[in-house]
Every structure is written in structure tokens, then in C-alpha cells.
């Protein structure tokens, strides 16, 4: 089935020799990318940079989608914050000056959601990164072995779809 492969890759990434920082950074970047509006130059620029840096793409894509669903709920907090920041003398002058530099006007900085999202995303980057990293390490060292040994998983292996999923995980695990 088409969804088994990507899910398997995610599970493998969680429990593989992938650098926990790469997975955690992917989650943090996804949070940042979900917070800022996507119709501007800044979003694709950050996205490409995140692709070049060795972040875990699978986690990045999945978490962008997940956070995009959640972000509208926190818009009422982010937008007024962004608007307040945007109206401050320093930022407004900075935004106007950046907008005057050829090409940079398309970064879309003159937008309360962009500024609010960017500031919130940057501010939350490190906490999200460390939180994700701790959770991954915790998962790999404590949770994963217990899950692997649990009777529940042994029973689940016999279920047709999960059996296929476990096979796929195994297949990708070998690669790592």
C-alpha cells in the first residue's frame, strides 16, 4: 500500500542511527515553516535551506502538514503580537528598508502574520528542537526496546497491514 513506505521510513528514522538532532531540527523547522505564511519568498528560501542541511525530510514534511493544521488555532495570539512588533519604530523602519532592497520585498515581511510567525518560530525553535531531541532519545533508548519486546507488538505482527509495515520497517532498518 502506498502509505506503508513513508510510515515505515518515519518509524525507521525514529529508531535508527539517524542523528537525533537532524530529526529534532526537522520538527523545529517544520514548526517555523508552518507558522509563517507560505506565499512569499522567505518560505521557499527557508524550505530549500532546510533541504540542503541534512534534516530529516520525512519528519519535516509530515510535521509541516501537522503544524499547518494546528497553527490557525494560535493565529489569534501570533497575529496581534506580529502587528505590535511590526508597528514598533525599529521593526517598521527595518521592514521598509528591507522592502526597498530589490527583490527582498517579496520576502513578505510587511505582514503581521509573517513577523509574528517568524518571531514565534525563531523563539520556539530551540525549545522545540530540544524537546524533540529528548523525546527521540527517550524513544530510542527506553520506549523502542520495550515496544519491540511487548506481547502486543508480537500479536500485531500477525495483523495483515501491520505485518507489511513491520516488514517494510525491517527492510529500511537494514539500510541504516
Amino acid at each position: 500500500m502506498f502509505f506503508i513506505k513513508p510510515i515505515a521510513k518515519l518509524i525507521v528514522a525514529l529508531n535508527s542511527n539517524t542523528k537525533p538532532g537532524a530529526v529534532a531540527a526537522a520538527v523545529a523547522v517544520a514548526f517555523l515553516l508552518a507558522l509563517i505564511p507560505s506565499i512569499n519568498l522567505l518560505w521557499p528560501a527557508l524550505f530549500i535551506i532546510s533541504l540542503i542541511a541534512r534534516l530529516n525530510w520525512g519528519f519535516e514534511f509530515v510535521f509541516i502538514a501537522v503544524f499547518k493544521l494546528i497553527v490557525p488555532l494560535i493565529d489569534p495570539l501570533i497575529e496581534p503580537m506580529g502587528w505590535k512588533i511590526l508597528q514598533s519604530d525599529f521593526v517598521s523602519v527595518l521592514v521598509y528598508r528591507i522592502s526597498e532592497i530589490p527583490g527582498l520585498t517579496y520576502l513578505g515581511l510587511n505582514d503581521s502574520l509573517m513577523i509574528g510567525g517568524l518571531i514565534a518560530g525563531i523563539a520556539a525553535w530551540l525549545p522545540v528542537f530540544f524537546l524533540a531531541r529528548i523525546l527521540i532519545v527517550l524513544f530510542r533508548e527506553k520506549i523502542s526496546p520495550r515496544i519491540a519486546r511487548s506481547k502486543f507488538i508480537a500479536a500485531m505482527k500477525r495483523a495483515p497491514i501491520l505485518g507489511k509495515l513491520i516488514l517494510a520497517v525491517k527492510q529500511f532498518s537494514d539500510v541504516y
Binding site: N17, K19, L51, R54, D75, E79, P102, T105, D174
Partner: protein, 693 residues
């Protein structure tokens, strides 16, 4: 057999320093069991770490190999494949810019225009400079899909000059956009049909048909107009006209209504007269009795009492009937007087109808402009009000569209994430600026050029005023120009010759030519338009194929008196107030006067005929009305007679009673006298006898 060391796979082949082993190998693994596994294989020799694979199972060897790959992979900080792809893309873009861009743009322009015009599009010398913001074409020709061997339009050059720096700052700044050497209908060397798999002949045939249809339609439309004008100018069947207009004539219905009223009166009084006839017959017996009453009727006291009583009863009856008939007569007389009012109404209605039928063929003074407008409407084959209604409809569509757009825009924030932006700096240039655009070209006997200046999104931030200059140069007349600004339009056209040739032959006009000059200006403010138009013509020549034609006589008479013609018009229009038009033209006066003379001449006879015909039509109903009225009058007279008769009966009874009373009085008087005489004699006699004593 000597001990042979089995080599470790990949990156584990060579021994590495202890520090490096820790930093570059162990720390690049993130699963505790993998680290443990690798550490278990490490053997320290002289400060170096070697991976010992002796005695490793096949599975562990495979695991070690995989770990080597993972370590190698985890050492890389960047995805070099992606960087390589990016470098390739950038290189491709550079190659595209220098070697492919113009060809691709040329193909793009041609295919997109071909999709729009459904015909071949040829371009030459395409040059796009992204950095400089320049685009130019040295030749652009669009074939005519309906005439493949001709170009619909061609340009000798197309140029666009944009400021790239402004574009990168989110603003569009077009310094110049020009279309030069515009020509229409030029010949092509190759067919302009698109190679779309459609059979050429079929395409040609359909094209031919498609090409002729609008022209044929146009001819038909002109034919319709001419037919209508001919009908307007032709003889009118006055009887038919009157029949058609009968619904608009009030007198027939007024006469009918009046006759109905009079008939109702007659019916009523006929019944009353019949009743009175019976009563009068009865009165004949009573009258006979009264006339027979004499002294004998008072022979005895009883017979006298009976006669007097009966006579008094008859008198009372006569009095009562007389009063009743007098009331009837008063009522009948009142109704009879009302018929005079009906007669007046009939007269007024008939007069109004005569006036109306006269107005059908005569021209009331002061309506010349309306008349001229109606002629114009006929020529346009559509009432002017319809054109205005289109304008109003267009405006209403615009308003609806605007409301729809506003409502959509108002809804937008609800649909998306709501955000706010800082306003652009006060001194920021407009987001769209078109400094100058032009198009120039030529037609047979005409050169033209359009220049558009200063089209900007925020005019308050731009010094120049928006304007469109239109220049036309005709060899015969010289240059004409039009200037359109944001709130005005002015036109200046020198005397331009026109020659309609024999296109008005259906109106018996063999030739019509002259020259026309125009000087006008129109201003607008929101949805209000106002302005003036000055039109002048000169050297007008009109030749008739059939000089007796009414329309020809009308026009030629008008033009004879006014040469040249000048017209001055002022108008105001707004959606709320509609059109206000003031037209002052000698031609209008002259046309109106001429029309009035012609129509008056022609109408006199028509009016007589109409009057006569209307008279004939009214004759019958009026005669019927008179008859009804006569009947009614007879009944009224009859009741009057009855009134007189009953009055005489009453008088007769009264006289008879008086006569009888006098007769009785005389008789009693005589009897009293006689009795007195007899009594006196007896007294004297008695007295004498007593005296003898």
C-alpha cells in the same frame, strides 16, 4: 598456515587514532546497541583502534557494513547531491538566458497568440532582457483566420521597457510600451491557417460563409432600415389608419354610454306613461260624472250630501294625482336636462377625436426635436431610449459587479488567515506606473497614433495627469485629434468629407455628399456626464433619383434653406436623472419647418378625409342617440300633458264644488227669504187679528 587477518569492510579497514575513533565513528552512531556492537569489535594497538572482524558471523559482518555506511552518511553536514542539483539548475538558467530564452519566448508569444486568434502568428527579432527589463519584437503579424492569405493585423515593431529594479521592489514601472507600424489586412505569402488537422477546403468554406454572414446581416439590417424609411415616406391609407386608431378614439364609447343612459330613462318613463294612461282613462268616468252634476243632484238633502262628498273625494284624488304627476314631470325634466350634459360630453369627445386624428398627420409646433429624434430612431432602427437603456443596463451590471467584488473582498479575510500590513510609506512610488504607451499605424487614406500617458495606480503620488491622445491624419482633410483625460473628452475634427454615394438609393436618393466638422467636449464626474457638441457641415449635395419622394423633398427642402449646417448640442446624463438634452441646430429648425410645411400640405387633404370619415362613422351612433333622446322627450311631453289634464280635472271638480256650494247657498237663501216672507205675513196676519181685538 599463517594467520591471515580478515579485513574489515569499508571505512573500518584502516586503524584510526583513539580520539578519531571516538569522534568520527562512535559518536556518529545514535543507537546504543549499535555503539555497543562497534565498541565490542574495537581492538587498541599502539594508540590506534582497529576493528577486529575475526570470527564475526555473516550477519554481524553485514551489520558492520551497514554501520559503516551510516557513519559515512552521518558525517556529512550537507546534502551534496541537492547542492549539485542546485548548481545544475543555476547553470541551466544561465545557459537558458544566453542561448534558449529568446527562442522560447518567441515560441511562447506565437503559440499563445495563435490560441487567441486561431491563426498563424509570425514574429521576428524577439529579444527579452530580464536584467534590463526590455522586451522587443521587430515584427509581429497575426493572420486572419477568416481570410488566411491576409493578416488581421501586423506591427513593424513592439517594444516594452520596464524598470527591473522597481519590479524587484514589488512595483511595476513601464517606461514605454509601444506598438508601431500597425497595419490591417496586409497580404501574406503563406496561408495563415493553423495546421490543426482540419481539412483546408472545409476550413476555407466555413470561413467564407462565416466571413459573409456578418456582412450579409449588415446589408439586411440596412435594408430593414431603408424599408422602414420608405414606409415612413410612402402614402398612408387614412381609412386603415383611422381603423387602427379607433381604440384611441373616445367619442364612440361616449356616445354609446350616453345613449344607454337615455334609453334607460326612456324605459322608465315609458312605464310611468302607461300607468298614467290607465289612470287618465279612469278619470274620464269621474270627469263625466262631474260634468253631469246639476241642481237635481241636490233635490234632497241626502242626495246633496252624497254628491258633495263624492265631489270632494274626486277633488282630493285629482289633487293627489296632480301632485304625483307633477313630481314625475319634475323628475323627468331633471333627467332631460341631464341629457344636455351628455350632449356636451359627446360634443367634447367628438371634438377631441377630430383633434386627435388631425394630430396623426399634422406636426404640432414645438415638437421639432422630438420629430427629428424619431427620424433618427428610425434610421438607427432602434429607439434611442433603447440605447440609453443599454447604457443604464451596463452601469447597473457594473454596479452589481462592483458590489459582488466588494462582497468577495469583504469575505476574503474570513476565508484565509487574517493578517495586517503596514501601509506603504507616504513617499513610496505607485505600485503600477505606465509612463507612456503608444500605438501607431495606417489604413488606406488614414494615419493614426494613440498615445497613453501616465497611467498610474495611485495618481496622487504621480505628477503627470493621465491622458489618451488620439491623432488621425487624413490626406484629404488634415489632422484630427481627440484628447481623453480622467474626467473629460475633447474632439476636434476638421471638415471631413463624406460621400454616401448611392447607398441611399432605396430612399430615392442618388447621391449625398458633403463635409462634416466636429468640435466637442464631454466631462464626467462619477456617474454624471455633461458636455457639448458642435457639428458643422458644408458643401452638402443631395441628388434625387425620384424627386417626388416625400423624404427627398423633406431633406432637400431643409438643406436648400440651410447651407452649411451647424448644430450645437448640450447634454447631461446621470443614472438618477436620466438624459437632459438641449439641441440647437439650424438644420433641426429647417428640417422641422420643412417637415411642417410638407406635412401640413399633405395633411390638409388627409385631415378633411379623416374628418369626413370620422363624421360618417359617428353619424349612425349620433342618429341613434337622437332617436332615443326624441323618445325620451316624447315621454316627458306626455307626462306634461297628463299634468295639465289632471290639473284641469282638479279645477273642474273644484269649480263644480264651488258651483254646487253656491247653488245650495242661493237655494237656502231663497228658502230662508221665502220662509221669512211667509213668516212675516203670518205674523202680520196674526198681529192683525190680534189688533182687531
Amino acid at each position: 598456515m599463517a594467520d591471515k587477518k580478515i579485513k574489515a569492510p569499508g571505512i573500518f579497514k584502516r586503524p584510526v587514532k583513539k580520539e578519531k575513533w571516538q569522534k568520527k565513528f562512535i559518536k556518529k552512531l545514535y543507537l546504543p546497541e549499535d555503539r555497543k556492537f562497534l565498541k565490542s569489535l574495537a581492538v587498541e594497538e599502539d594508540g590506534y583502534i582497529r576493528v577486529n572482524v575475526d570470527g564475526l558471523s555473516r550477519k554481524d559482518k553485514k551489520r558492520l557494513k551497514a554501520l559503516g555506511k551510516v557513519i559515512k552518511k552521518n558525517r556529512k553536514a550537507f546534502n551534496f547531491i541537492l547542492i549539485f542539483i542546485l548548481i545544475l539548475l543555476v547553470g541551466g538558467a544561465v545557459f537558458f538566458h544566453f542561448y534558449l530564452k529568446n527562442k522560447l519566448v518567441q515560441r511562447l508569444v506565437e503559440t499563445q497568440l495563435e490560441k487567441v486568434f486561431l491563426a498563424e502568428v509570425d514574429t521576428k527579432g524577439v529579444n527579452l532582457s530580464v536584467i534590463d527589463g526590455r522586451f522587443s519584437l521587430s515584427y509581429l503579424a497575426i493572420a486572419d483566420s477568416e481570410a488566411p492569405m491576409k493578416n488581421l493585423i501586423e506591427f513593424s515593431s513592439v517594444e516594452a521597457d520596464l524598470k527591473t529594479a522597481e519590479l524587484l521592489q514589488g512595483r511595476v514601472f513601464i517606461e514605454e510600451l509601444g506598438f508601431s507600424g500597425m497595419k490591417r489586412g496586409t497580404a501574406r505569402e503563406t496561408s495563415g491557417l493553423l495546421n490543426t488537422g482540419v481539412d483546408g477546403d472545409d476550413a476555407g468554406n466555413s470561413t467564407e460563409t462565416g466571413g459573409q454572414t456578418p456582412a450579409a446581416d449588415g446589408k439586411d439590417a440596412i435594408g430593414d432600415v431603408i424599408n422602414q424609411l420608405s414606409a415612413l415616406a410612402g402614402n398612408i391609407d387614412l381609412e386603415e389608419l383611422l381603423e387602427q386608431q379607433k381604440a384611441n378614439l373616445a367619442s364612440f364609447s361616449v356616445i354609446e354610454e350616453s345613449k344607454k343612459n337615455v334609453d334607460n330613462y326612456s324605459e322608465h318613463w315609458k312605464g310611468r306613461v302607461e300607468q298614467w294612461d290607465g289612470k287618465i282613462d279612469n278619470w274620464e268616468t269621474s270627469v263625466s260624472y262631474i260634468s253631469k252634476v246639476n241642481a237635481d243632484s241636490f233635490a234632497t238633502l241626502d242626495s246633496a250630501r252624497t254628491t258633495i262628498t263624492r265631489l270632494r273625494t274626486l277633488y282630493d284624488d285629482a289633487e293627489e294625482d296632480f301632485n304625483e304627476v307633477r313630481n314625475d314631470y319634475n323628475a323627468a325634466e331633471k333627467q332631460y336636462n341631464e341629457t344636455s350634459v351628455l350632449m356636451d360630453q359627446i360634443k367634447a369627445a367628438v371634438k377631441a377625436d377630430y383633434d386627435y386624428v388631425e394630430s396623426l398627420v399634422s406636426l404640432p409646433a414645438g415638437d421639432k426635436v422630438d420629430w427629428a429624434a424619431s427620424i433618427l430612431e428610425e434610421q438607427l432602427s432602434m429607439p434611442l431610449t433603447k440605447y440609453l437603456s443599454y447604457l443604464e443596463r451596463g452601469l447597473s451590471w457594473y454596479n452589481r459587479f462592483k458590489r459582488f467584488k466588494d462582497s468577495k473582498e469583504a469575505k476574503k479575510p474570513e476565508d484565509r488567515r487574517i493578517s495586517r500590513s503596514l501601509p506603504p510609506p507616504v513617499d513610496a512610488p505607485p505600485t503600477f506606473t505606465l509612463v507612456h504607451a503608444f500605438a501607431s499605424g495606417e489604413e488606406p487614406d488614414l494615419k493614426y497614433r494613440f498615445d497613453l500617458h501616465n497611467l498610474v495606480s495611485e495618481p496622487e503620488k504621480w505628477d503627470g495627469a493621465t491622458s489618451l491622445d488620439i491623432g488621425l491624419d487624413m490626406p484629404q482633410t488634415g489632422a484630427a485629434s481627440a484628447v481623453i483625460t480622467e474626467d473629460s473628452l475633447s474632439l476636434d475634427v476638421p471638415a471631413a468629407p463624406f460621400d454616401l454615394g448611392n447607398s441611399l438609393s432605396a430612399l430615392d436618393i442618388a447621391a449625398f455628399s458633403g463635409s462634416l466638422a466636429l468640435d466637442s467636449s464631454v466631462g464626467w464626474d462619477d456617474d454624471r456626464f455633461s458636455g457639448n457638441v458642435n457639428l458643422s457641415t458644408a458643401d452638402l449635395v443631395l441628388k434625387a433619383a425620384a424627386p417626388d419622394s416625400i423624404l427627398y423633398r423633406l431633406i432637400s427642402t431643409s438643406l436648400e434653406s440651410v447651407k452649411p449646417v451647424t448644430a450645437f448640442g448640450e447634454f447631461k446624463w446621470s443614472e438618477a436623472d436620466g438624459l437632459g438634452l438641449k439641441l440647437d441646430t439650424e438644420l433641426d429648425e429647417s428640417l422641422g419647418d420643412a417637415a411642417k410645411v410638407l406635412i401640413t400640405e399633405g395633411a390638409e387633404e388627409g385631415i378633411e378625409m379623416l374628418r369626413s370619415y370620422l363624421g360618417e362613422q359617428l353619424e349612425g351612433p349620433l342618429a341613434d342617440f337622437d332617436l332615443s333622446k326624441g323618445d325620451f322627450e316624447g315621454y316627458v311631453d306626455q307626462i306634461k300633458n297628463y299634468e295639465t289634464e289632471l290639473d284641469s280635472y282638479r279645477q273642474m271638480a273644484d269649480d263644480k264644488i264651488a258651483e254646487i256650494e253656491k247653488s245650495i247657498e242661493d237655494k237656502l237663501k231663497k228658502q230662508a227669504e221665502d220662509a221669512l216672507k211667509d213668516g212675516a205675513a203670518d205674523v202680520l196676519k196674526d198681529l192683525g187679528s190680534k189688533l182687531k181685538f
